[in-house]
């Protein structure tokens, strides 16, 4: 498509692009051209007319002159002829010839001579240019001659007459025939053979006079002053132009209006070189000729004066300069130019006015269009006008609407297109972009506008060069997202030539995901190759049409073949397949080829190159099908599973041993599949559940389980299956065949196949019905003790307390001491019962701990304060050593209090009255807190130390003090401390005292969550 190129505009040209200016200029141009054409044509025409007129005038003047000269010559001729017939002449001639009889004798002048002279003079008087007239005898002797003098005429006396026979004209005239006349050449007049000093150019006309008998008798000669003759003609005609008279001998004279007639120029005696035209006409034969020179034109008329001598002529040339006849044309031209300028000025004014008038609506429409904002069409366009502007406005409006629609569509397409689009100027500055750009690069549109493309493509340092180099190519490059990450895009650039500028349009498609996927795919392929290599998996590819098989290097390695060996894999396979496995493999492959199986999976043996059999597992699949479902390509993998087969064999042997072990085990054992179906049971479990083996193998584990007892074991089983734990135990209640139930402690583990997948569960069930019964009885006992012992104790203790309070002042001290002893014993019994219950509960794990974060110092202070009566009773003083900051512990405060009281009470019991007990709390280096109770009692004997924390342990009776107690306190204390995450220990020295201490970790939020 041809591109419309709008060149850069220089200011002067800008002027020309204005339509108004163009109209004005074109109008002026048209007027100018018209004026020039008219003036030119007029000028040419007038020049032609002037030339024609000049030629006519020249011809007329020339001919007129010619006629005048011809008349003058004719007059001379006529005068001669008339004079020749004068009667005096024959008489003179006879006189000259007659009586004297001797030729050359001049006749006497007495009679006829004067008469003839008078005639001659009368003629000469009328003809001013006649200078002489003479009558010559046939021998050339002057017979009569009259000369013109300055003051009249001279009748030359006979003695002065000359013989003119030597004169050329006389010689020329001797031969004249009757009727002929002779005009001589123009020569200077000669007298007596000498040229007169006056240098009068003279022409002579000679009329021969014949006698009656025939011979020439005389010659009548008229001499005329040629110059005078000519001057007469000029004076008559009065030509105002340059005029030449020239004869065939080259003599000439010229006359101009300014200078008049110039001196006669005789050939051979030219005073100056003759004008070119004088020479030129010598060659002209025609009588009338127009001569056109560079600067002049001339008209030449050739006048033949002597009919007997065609060579002689008189030429008349009238010449005028071209400027002379061009002058009217020049004037006309000047006038035309002035008129043209006038018309140009008028046209300028009119065209300016009209152009402005015509352009105004256009300018107004342009301003309205320019003032229209955004993507709108101005409403006030002059669409109602009926002229071309109205048509333009309507067309513009329709076109603008169409363009807006088109633009809206294009914009919608651009905005909704998946690809990003930016337009750039030639410097790479972003002019426009669509929404996809914002999505791809993370910049809002307004942020991108005006920025260089390098903000998206940092590699485009030389943007213009890079864009130019990228033109019409699609390339994959890395861009920069606003958040700094790299974005891979497919990038193509096109150039839009808008005439005065070019725009680059860049289309970008975010292919980061594709790029990542491609890299991932390549990585995957590489990984697959590595995996196949590492896993020693061979690959084969069979073209089923040509039976040509391609195998990988690993396949050769598996068979012990050199990797670079050229082997026919099909032939190798046929040669090496185990005969027992061949049909199996072929059948599997055939099923696959016929579409009955999706893939052919076989395990078979091939003979290794070293001669041993190896097991291979083959997985093959038809990957290409032809017409009529004919398989074309069979691709698969093979791996050496010899090791696996050996492992399987070992596993089978192991399973066999396991089965035997199970069968013979005294404990109930069973194997269950993953759905819980019994798959192997031994005799012991049959006895336990009351079924025989066959009955049990038809059942599921759930069929013989009291479901209520197994609610919480699902997660344990899942963990076992997932390999998180190796085994777990649970207590389950089974339903026997006879309807009774039996409790068993079940140990569950899982057996896995060679691939590590769970194959079946192994269950061992220990009959714990008896144990359960015992526990139940124990629980009942505890409950009974709790209620049946405590209730009367409460009653007794309460009664005694009230009695003590109410009878305090009514009975004597002895009675009061009995009452106090009873109350004390009752309290001891109550504590013993409590201790026994605690021990039972600890043993059964039924003690509940209500953990909380507490300040151990506060707890210790509370204990000391609340149990001061107890220490007072033993007469000991408690000293507390506490840090001056709170130390948090995560314990059950009641149970820790119980533990502290236990050791404090022990310390008090083993102290002498007046001793003190030091109860201290200290922070340890290992982020723990130590609660220590130090007494200064007898210490713990070496023998007792090993039983110190046992139940019912009491120091031997050698102690001086009555150390009443159940012997359960330290046992309970140890259990409580350890259950709450602490440790208990002691330091003792016999005779010096004992320190019991608990170490607890300091509480932190991390420990709480742990």
């Amino acid at each position: 498509m041809a591109r419309r190129v709008i060149p850069r505009i220089w200011p002067g040209r800008q002027l020309f692009y204005s339509l108004k200016n163009r109209i004005i200029l074109l109008t002026l141009g048209a007027v100018f051209v018209t004026a020039v054409l008219i003036a030119g044509s007029f000028y040419v025409r007038i020049s032609q007319l002037a030339r024609d007129a000049a030629v006519t005038e020249l011809a007329g003047e020339t001919r007129l002159l010619a006629q005048s000269f011809k008349t003058a010559f004719s007059q001379m001729k006529h005068d001669g002829q008339v004079l020749a017939s004068t009667p005096q002449i024959p008489r003179i001639i006879r006189a000259y010839q007659g009586p004297y009889g001797r030729p050359g004798q001049v006749a006497p002048h007495d009679t006829w001579g004067p008469q003839l002279s008078s005639i001659f003079q009368s003629v000469m008087q009328r003809r001013a240019h006649y200078t002489q007239m003479r009558l010559l005898g046939a021998d050339g002797q002057e017979l009569v001659r009259v000369n013109r003098t300055e003051d009249g005429f001279e009748f030359v006396p006979a003695g002065a007459l000359q013989n003119k026979s030597a004169e050329p004209y006389v010689r020329e005239s001797i031969g004249l025939q009757p009727g002929q006349i002779y005009f001589s050449e123009v020569t200077y007049n000669r007298e007596h053979g000498q040229v007169e000093e006056t240098h009068t150019p003279t022409i002579r006309v000679v009329i021969p006079i014949f006698s009656d008998t025939g011979p020439l008798s005389a010659l009548l000669v008229i001499n005329a002053n040629y110059a005078h003759l000519l001057q007469q003609q000029f004076d008559t005609i009065a030509p105002d132009k340059q005029t030449f008279l020239v004869n065939n001998l080259g003599d000439y004279v010229q006359s101009t209006a300014e200078t008049g007639m110039q001196p006669f120029e005789m050939r051979g005696n030219y005073s100056a070189p003759p004008p070119a035209i004088v020479t030129k006409v010598q060659a002209i034969e025609e009588n009338d000729t127009l001569l056109v020179g560079e600067d002049q034109i001339a008209y030449f008329v050739r006048l033949n004066l002597d009919a007997s001598d065609p060579r002689s002529y008189l030429g008349i040339i009238v010449q005028m300069s071209k400027d002379e006849f061009r002058a009217p044309a020049q004037q006309t031209l000047m006038l035309s130019l002035l008129l043209g300028i006038f018309f140009l000025a008028v046209s300028l004014v009119i065209s300016f006015h009209l152009a402005r008038r015509f352009m105004r609506p256009l300018l107004e429409m342009t301003q309205k269009i320019e003032a229209a904002k955004g993507h709108t069409v101005p409403n006030n366009l002059p669409i109602d006008r009926h002229d071309e502007i109205g048509a333009l406005a309507r067309a513009f409006k329709a076109r603008a609407h169409a363009l807006l629609d088109s633009e809206a569509q294009a914009r919608a397409i651009l905005e909704n297109m998946f690809d990003g689009l930016v337009t750039l100027d030639r410097n790479g500055v972003i002019q426009n972009c669509n929404a996809s750009c914002a999505r791809i690069f993370g910049y809002p549109e307004h942020e991108l506008l005006g920025k260089g493309i390098h903000c998206l493509f940092p590699d485009f340092a030389q943007q213009g060069v890079a864009l130019q180099a990228s033109l019409n190519k699609t390339q994959r490059i890395t861009a920069r997202h606003k958040d700094g990450r790299d974005v891979t895009v497919e990038f193509s650039v096109g150039c839009v030539d808008l005439g005065r500028r070019s725009l680059y349009s860049c289309i970008m498609r975010d292919v980061s995901e594709q790029h990542r996927m491609r890299i991932a795919l390549e990585t995957l392929e590489e990984r697959w190759a590595l995996a196949l290599d590492a896993a020693q998996i061979g690959v084969f590819d069979v073209d089923l049409q040509t039976q040509k098989t391609i195998v990988s290097d690993i396949w050769c390695q598996i068979l012990g073949l050199p990797a670079d060996a050229e082997v026919d894999a099909q032939e190798e396979w046929e040669k090496r397949i185990h005969p027992d496995d061949r049909d199996l493999v072929l059948a599997a492959n055939q099923a696959c080829f016929e579409g009955r199986a999706q893939s052919a999976v076989t395990e078979h043996r091939l003979r290794h190159n070293d001669g041993r059999w190896i097991w291979l597992r083959t997985f093959g699949r038809v990957t290409k099908w032809g017409e009529n479902s004919a398989p074309l390509r069979f691709v698969g993998v093979q791996m050496d599973i010899s090791g696996l087969k050996m492992a399987e064999a070992a596993l089978k042997a192991s399973e066999e041993r396991l089965r035997m072990a199970i069968d013979n085990a005294p404990i109930a054992m069973a194997l269950l599949d993953l759905e819980g179906n019994w798959i192997k049971v031994n005799e012991a479990i049959c006895l336990l559940l009351g079924y025989d083996q066959n009955e049990l193998l038809r059942l599921n584990s759930k069929d013989v389980t009291v479901q209520k007892s197994v609610e919480n074991n699902v997660s344990q089983m899942q963990r076992l299956v997932q390999g998180e734990i190796d085994t777990y135990e649970e207590e389950k209640c089974y339903l026997r065949k006879d309807g009774s139930s039996v409790w068993g402690r079940v140990s569950v583990s899982v057996a896995r196949d060679t691939e590590g997948q769970p194959a079946y569960f192994i269950k061992q069930i220990l009959d714990i019905s008896q144990q359960r019964e015992t526990e139940r009885l124990q629980s009942e006992f505890i409950s009974t003790v709790n209620h049946e012992l405590r209730t009367p104790l409460t009653s007794i203790q309460g009664s005694l307390a009230i009695l003590q309070a109410k009878l305090a002042e009514k009975i004597d001290d002895k009675e009061m001491r009995l009452l106090a002893n009873s109350h004390e014993s009752c309290q001891r019994l109550s504590r013993l019962v409590n201790d026994i219950l605690d021990v039972q509960q600890i043993r059964q794990g039924k003690i509940e701990y209500n953990f909380a974060a507490i300040d151990v110092c506060q707890l210790v202070e509370d204990v000391v304060e609340s149990h001061r009566p107890m220490t007072d009773k033993f007469g000991v003083e408690i000293e507390t050593v506490l840090p001056n900051k709170a130390l948090p512990l995560w314990v059950d405060p009641d149970r820790l209090t119980q533990a502290v009281i236990n050791v404090v009470s022990n310390a008090a019991k083993f102290s002498e009255r007046g001793d003190k007990i030091i109860l201290s709390v200290s922070e340890r280096a290992n982020n723990s807190v130590r609660i220590a109770v130090k007494d200064f009692g007898p210490g713990i004997s070496e023998a007792f130390r090993s039983r110190l924390f046992s139940q019912f342990a009491q120091a031997d009776g050698s102690s001086k003090r009555n150390t009443e107690g159940s012997g359960l306190g330290l046992n309970i204390t140890k259990s409580l401390v350890e259950e709450m995450g602490g440790q208990i220990d002691y330091e003792t020295e016999e005779g010096k005292g004992t320190t019991f201490f608990f170490d607890f970790p300091i509480f932190t939020l991390e420990r709480k969550s742990a």
């Binding site: 405590r790 209730t791 009367p792 009653s795 309460g798 307390a801 009230i802 003690i847 701990y849």
Partner: protein, 123 residues
């Protein structure tokens, strides 16, 4: 005077408890040997506080408590359980029913009146 109703099937305990409570002269104490009789007495006596044993034949403590709370005349009356079942979950269970306190058995007779006085102020 604050009216206290003590309900317990154990006669000895009930008697000791009444005596212990009466150590505070501001208390007027009545007792019942079962949940059913306790409810009857309560409707007539409108006590300020009911002390209720948990383990009783027939209507046990929790059942009696529910009936007290269903009775429009008594449902505003605070109830404290008194029991030997003092394990944490057991106490929590009783408190969860809405009891204002749980007093463990064996109680200290000399301290019982003080405990009850505190309860009357709290509940």
């Amino acid at each position: 005077m604050a009216r206290i109703l003590y309900i317990d099937d154990d006669n000895d305990i009930r008697e000791i408890a009444v005596m212990a409570l009466e150590l505070n002269e501001l208390f007027e104490v009545r007792s019942a040997a079962s949940g059913a009789s306790g409810l009857e007495i309560a409707r007539e006596y409108t006590p300020d506080l009911i002390l209720l044993d948990v383990m009783m034949p027939g209507l046990d403590g929790p059942a009696t408590y529910r009936l007290v709370k269903l009775d429009p005349a008594l449902q505003q009356t605070p109830v404290a359980f008194i029991t030997a079942r003092t394990q944490t979950h057991q106490v929590a269970e009783l408190m969860g029913m809405g009891a204002c306190s749980v007093i463990p058995k064996p109680f200290d007779p000399m301290a019982l009146a003080g405990q009850v006085e505190s309860l009357l102020l709290q509940c």
